[in-house]
Amino acid sequence: MLPRDLKPEQFSGYPPAAKELVTNYLGALQKLPLSFLPNLLREAIDYDFKFPAERHALDRELANLGSLSPAQIGEWFQGFAKISVSTQLERSDWINSPAQFVEQLSAHLWTTHQLDAFRVAATEYADRLHAAVTPQPPPVPRLGITVIGQGVSSYDGTLFGKLRPHGGYFTHINPENGLRLLLDAVGGRAKAHSSAYGHWYIDGGEEAEHDAVLTTVSYGALASVRRSLLRNMQTETERPGMGPEALRTLMAEMRPADLGMSKDGDPIVDRFRLKLLTEGSGTQIYSTTFAQWAAREALRRAQPLTLLVRFAPRQRQRPMDELLSDSHPASALDFVGSLIDADMGAYYNWLNQQRLPGAEQSSFLVWFEGHSQALAIGPSMPRGTESAAIADLGKLLSWTI
């Protein structure tokens, strides 16, 4: 089966909005190489459960593809056209299972030493798309806030090392009521600049009190889902013949209800939460990993105007001697390790925010929770500076934006 043979009825298994989208652009899709098309279908098949920013981007990408002449198609996809795809992959059900196809294609590219050629083709495509479909700037400059170090009484190491060259480091911030000030500021932005899934609060532990208008994801609220998933994975891996690929496919096919999530929730956010656990690595076990991955995926997919991420202490990795003697409880927390994880996570949050449209106007604030150290990055904030100015977090935020 090749793209040129595509017919509308072959998409009957797609959810309604996805089916309509794909059939509207069937003519364009028929012209695309097989090394590219399933990657696009993998996005399209989830259209019904995508955030507005994702839908908008996909709409524009497909509209652009539909506008290209045959000669332009040849030019845009010459790199992909040179990628050799196996007969086995051609015969697979890439229309209904594009994610599995992409996974198998990935293995094929590594094995046949075509991965570098694929990377070049993908980068060229992204550059052309970026030039042709200029991303629209956000209605207001983005704001990212990361709160790290919950529960750490003191730390002598260097914090914000990777971020300091990009902003101002403040050493005398008044920590009093800091989280409350930040959450209130985020809630205020959400009310002032209403946007569906545009303002987020992610917590690596239990959620603090926050404005209901925020889209919220937390490690604590997903405790029963995480336990259910881990049990499920354990059971599946004990089945004869279960390998990593089969397990991954199984997890990819899970639905929120399979893990006990309420049917009354927002289906888009619930699907997002589920994917954090079924597609993320380590997100089921370590809260710091969960918070970082959730932020990464929220930024990549929902492109929020505001994102507050609060890291919480994760469980400790138990050393071998302790496991053998079973001398300590498994639930002990690693506060300093979590601070180091979160410090790196803050850097990744900033990097991921900077990948979005309007990066030059975006602002970012990271604070060592309960302490006087913070770092602010913004258009008006001098880079690589240090300040002993005394201010609370509300004031610092006003200097940053």
């Binding site: 590219f36 696009l40 294609l105 990935s106 293995a107 590219l109 590594w110 094995t111 046949t112 030493h113 991965l115 990377r119 993908a122 980068t123 992204a126 550059d127 798309l129 970026h130 991303p135 994975m233 354990q234 891996t237 279960m242 390998g243 990593p244 397990l247 991954r248 690595s281 380590g282 997100t283 076990i285 370590y286 710091t288 990993t289 970082q292 991955w293 990464r296 994760r314 990795q317 138990r318 050393p319 071998m320 001697d321 496991l323 053998l324 079973d326 498994a330 690693d334 300093v336 390790g337 180091i340 994880d341 410090d343 790196m344 850097y347 990744y348 990097l351 900077q354 990948r355 979005l356």
Partner: protein, 384 residues
């Protein structure tokens, strides 16, 4: 395979990556050139030479190791090794970036394409087979100490001219520990987890892995003593080093290959655990180097080579998630370093030229005096 997230980027990334010059600020090192010969003397009989290879794994980036900002994580390599070592700043791995298949490629000198998660032997002859067949060495003279994730088949290939009976003996310390544990609970399962890329999957073992009863006959170690010692160690790599030292003391193999794997905990996404893995591996390398210098069978005649199997994804690559994985195939994940120290090695020299990770096997061949005829690399002239 090592890759799981093949995403076509739909945004472009303006941040570019440039490779740092390693060790620019390190004292006591000189910039080397290919015209500087090694200090290896032709009169040294290959019969007495030994080579120990440590893969600094699994997967470590420049910026957490030898790049300026990472040097604090490797104090032993920086202070004890670098002044006495030849250091190569650019070792490029053009193969599949999965730990087993990449290590197998290092050991064969050919980019293997076997399934990273299956218990399969390499398709091309390993360095151990060349060594044993060409030099007519017994099986006791080539050993591999490795984590359990499929590495049990790394000792010998399926190649018809080599293969069964000509490879290295393989010991999997975690597997050995598992065999000694009569009562196993959930925590033991966690401890004995085979790999970090697919934490809930364990391939079936096959091949001639080290049997439990050989603990006593070869390593002169009772199961109870082994178990008791394991209780004093904090990680699987510490267990590997303990076993390697037993092998060195009791069998003194001429070709010893130790695959470290603690660093790959990075797949769990916790940066501090990744850094702890690097710091531990640094310490364990020093421990092994100390053993080489103090064991009479090794002192003065051993070349030690340390290299990561590959790097990890760059922070700046939007297709990955930084240190957590090695999925993008970007330059940082493919480019790493190698350090050589000991017999015949020029001291305190840094070489900036790039070489291919496949060059390792021909280099070991040139040092020990065998011909890896099917390996695709070339001997590293600065080391032979």
């Amino acid at each position: 395979m090592g890759e799981r997230a093949l995403k076509i980027p739909r945004t472009n990334c303006a941040i570019s990556w440039t490779r740092r010059e390693f060790l620019r600020s390190a004292a006591g090192v000189a910039l080397g050139s290919a015209f500087l010969p090694s200090t290896r003397r032709a009169s040294t009989l290959s019969r007495t030479k030994k080579v120990v290879v440590i893969t600094f794994g699994g997967g470590a980036r420049d910026q957490e190791t030898f790049a300026p900002e990472g040097q604090e994580n490797i104090p032993h390599l920086m202070r004890e090794f670098i002044p006495r070592a030849s250091f190569f700043t650019q070792v490029v791995n053009r193969g599949i970036l999965g730990h087993y298949v990449a290590t197998a490629s290092l050991a064969t000198g050919v980019y293997e394409t076997i399934n990273n998660f299956a218990s399969l032997p390499p398709e091309h002859p390993t360095v151990f087979e060349y060594f044993r067949k060409d030099l007519k060495r017994p099986s006791s003279d080539a050993w591999v100490v490795a984590p359990s994730n499929g590495f049990n088949r790394i000792g010998e290939s399926t190649h018809r001219s080599y293969g069964p009976g000509l490879g290295a003996r393989v010991v999997l310390p975690k597997h050995l520990l598992k065999a000694t544990l009569s009562k196993r609970g959930t925590d033991y399962e966690h401890l004995l987890r085979d790999n970090y890329e697919t934490p809930y999957y364990t391939p079936e073992l096959g091949g001639n892995e080290f049997e439990l009863q050989q603990l006593e006959s070869i390593l002169r170690l009772s199961a109870d003593d082994f178990k008791a010692h394991a209780r004093t160690l904090s990680s699987p790599d510490e267990l590997s080093v303990y076993i390697a030292r037993q092998l060195m003391r009791h069998l003194a193999p001429s070709l010893l290959w130790i695959t470290m794997h603690d660093i790959d905990v990075a797949h769990a996404g916790a940066y501090s655990m990744y850094i702890e893995g690097i710091q531990r591996t640094d310490r364990l390398c020093a421990e092994l180097w100390h053993a080489i210098q103090t064991e009479p069978e090794y002192a003065g005649r051993t070349t030690l080579m340390i290299l990561p199997d590959f790097g990890r994804d760059a922070d700046e690559d939007a297709g990955g998630n930084g240190f957590q994985h090695h999925r993008t195939g970007d330059a940082l994940s493919r480019t790493t370093w190698m350090l050589a120290i000991g017999h015949g090695i020029r001291e305190g020299v840094v070489y900036d030229r790039a070489f291919d990770s496949l060059d390792l096997v021909p280099t070991i061949g040139a040092i020990l005096g065998f011909s890896p005829s099917l390996a695709q690399g070339r001997p590293i002239s600065e080391l032979v």
